[in-house]
């Protein structure tokens, strides 16, 4: 795969934020949950992103907040990727009634606004980080399912798969060794696109108070609190958490754009 500029920038952004989350203990100058200054201090040398309405350091909250979103996105995307891919493989390869039913269910879920479904699911499961991840995962399963199923339908009649069948290899082996490797490139694109979307959905659920409980730092939730201080002009409570959400989503979106572009170029060769 040729690296293109979007891929490089996207990866760099994601890497920086992941490192920030991992090394939060060393990077954050203050505790994210305890007051370290006066209330609503604007950015200054001691608090480079200012302080919130409870005197907590916004920069420290932004650094620690990366943990929440990254954990949720990671769990959600891996969970939906594995389940969606397996269902898509089986459904596309075996076809028949199972395929018809699964496709119908997946198409219906796919048509429904994913954010609203995620909201309904997290309300039902109860608001916490893990449930939010599960709720997001469920809404993305159809994306993987549809993509994988479509590819399997076109691959399964290729001669090399034909040959594997003729050799009498078990179905699981054919799917794992012959079909799955063909899907990797598309999976990477969908994976990064979904991650971008998952960042936004996590932030939205947090914005509605459906993930962390205070005082845990979280970008979406901090942004929600910040909105109460617009008229006081406390822009730092909005710009920094809001900017980080957009930046991380942008990183994943650029990655997916870059990967899909190099994919198209390769196809064209």
């Amino acid at each position: 795969m040729t690296l293109n500029i979007y891929t490089v920038i996207g990866l760099a952004v994601i890497l920086v934020i992941v490192l920030m989350a991992l090394l939060a203990d060393f990077i954050a100058p203050y505790s994210p949950v305890e007051a370290s200054g006066m209330e609503l201090e604007s950015p200054n040398p001691l608090h480079i992103m200012g302080t919130d309405n409870l005197g907590r350091d916004v920069f420290s909250r932004v650094v620690y907040g990366a943990r929440t979103v990254i954990v949720v996105v990671l769990i959600a995307v891996i969970l939906s990727g594995v389940i969606g891919t397996v269902l898509g493989l089986v459904s596309g390869y075996i076809s028949g009634v199972l395929d018809k039913i699964l496709s119908f269910v997946m198409d219906s879920i796919y048509a429904f606004p994913s954010l609203i479904l995620a909201i309904a699911l997290s309300v039902a499961l109860g608001p916490n980080i893990f449930n939010a991840a599960v709720a997001i995962a469920i809404t993305y399963i159809p994306t993987y399912f549809r993509m994988v199923r479509g590819q399997v339908l076109s691959i399964k009649n290729e001669s090399f798969v034909e040959m594997a069948r003729a050799l009498g290899l078990p179905i699981t082996r054919i799917m794992a060794r012959y079909i799955l490797p063909q899907l990797t490139q598309t999976l990477v694109v969908v994976f990064s696109m979904n991650s971008a979307d998952a960042v936004l959905t996590e932030a939205a659920l947090s914005f509605f108070g459906l993930t962390v409980q205070p005082p845990t730092p979280d970008w979406g939730f901090d942004l929600y609190k910040g909105r109460g201080f617009i008229l006081s002009g406390a822009w730092w409570m909005l710009i920094f958490p809001g900017g980080m959400i957009t930046l991380l989503a942008l990183g994943f979106a650029l990655l997916s754009e870059g990967v899909s572009q190099s994919y198209v170029v390769k196809e064209g060769e």
Binding site: A124, G233, A253
Partner: protein, 336 residues
């Protein structure tokens, strides 16, 4: 197949989809949580008798399958049950109150996103260099990553707090009243010839619709650009050029050809629009269904949450049907 038969056929196909979504929502909201009444009250210290009475009042004491069918039938009749928190308040009344606000936001957001997206795609498609096309293509694939509350709050800060030219939320300024006809204030005020109210309503809707419109505009840019490139490469353009038609005029003709697939795409944006509306409304205190839904979430008012979510499922089904029909009207080949 005639058009009428085609429409009837599509309508029949939509029913299982809506039923499935209804079932899904029902399972998620009714079967998964423990006792919704306890969750809504937020306490377990309630006398057994009182709990039972409340469950009976809300119809939650019946077997699940019975609830499932009764709810569906009542819903189709326009009866969406009662709120668990504000006792005795029919949810259908609340929804009827809130729906026009969401509809108005959705319409203006679509107008914004269409104008911004198609406009940019048109300019980029017409340009001779490749730089603008690259930017337009990137724009087309990344606008969806804008986090609506982040953009919306930034715009509030900029235009509301710093420049002080636009309001930061709501539908009308305090002290301004309107007799509701359609519930769409920008239309109602015009119908009554009240231009002050009209100006006020427009001022209030600019930022929310711009926020939502911008986020949804990307695909329009991408589609316009790629369709214009496709048509520009076709023989009809060669023929135009051979006859010495001016480039300006050619661009206009090409644009018209390129527009058809874009119009049909409007329907597909609808699911995104609904999800985005929930975020936009809460960001701008816009009193529509989205704000209502989030309010009810805060209070764990399950019956109201269920009604709104199921209503969304119906809307998605109906819009998808309308898109199919529009497509069949524009392109007769689809019907056969």
């Amino acid at each position: 197949m005639g058009l009428a038969r085609y429409i009837a056929f599509r309508a029949l196909l939509i029913i299982p989809t809506i039923l499935l979504l209804y079932t899904l929502v029902f399972i998620v909201l009714r079967v998964l949580p423990g006792n919704p009444v306890l969750a809504a009250l937020g306490t377990k210290n309630i006398p057994e008798e009182q709990l039972k009475a409340l469950m009976r009042e809300l119809g939650l004491d019946k077997p699940l399958y019975q609830q499932y069918f009764e709810y569906l039938i009542n819903f189709l009749r326009g009866d969406m049950g009662y709120s668990m928190i504000i006792r005795g308040r029919p949810i259908a009344n609340d929804i009827a109150d809130k729906f026009p606000a969401t509809l108005e936001l959705a319409i203006w957001a679509m107008v914004m996103s269409f104008a911004l997206g198609v406009g940019f795609g048109y300019v980029a498609g017409k340009s001779r260099g490749t730089a603008l096309k690259h930017i337009a293509r990137l724009y087309g694939s990344i606008t969806y990553i804008i986090f609506i509350p982040a953009l919306g709050l930034f715009l509030q800060l900029l235009f509301g707090r710093w420049l002080g030219v636009l309001p930061t939320g709501g539908r009308l300024s305090p002290g301004i009243y309107i007799n509701s006809i359609t519930g769409l204030y920008t239309i109602d005020s015009l119908l009554q010839g009240d231009f002050n109210t009209f100006a006020d309503a427009i001022k209030h809707i600019i930022l929310p619709s711009l926020t939502l419109g911008l986020v949804l505009s990307g695909p329009f840019t991408r589609l316009t650009l790629s369709n214009m490139e496709r048509v520009l490469g076709s023989k009809i353009v060669v023929a135009y050029r051979a006859r010495g038609v001016r480039e300006e005029v050619i661009a206009r003709h090409v644009f018209k050809h390129a527009l058809i697939p874009i119009v049909t795409y409007l329907g597909l944006q609808f699911a995104l629009l609904l999800g985005g509306a929930v975020l936009t409304e809460t960001t701008f205190n816009w009193p529509g269904l989205g704000t209502y839904l989030v309010d009810k979430i805060m209070y764990r008012d399950y019956t109201a949450i269920q009604a709104v979510v199921i209503l969304f499922a119906f809307l998605v089904g109906v819009i998808s049907l309308m898109t199919d029909v529009a497509y069949a009207l524009i392109d007769p080949r689809v019907r056969y």
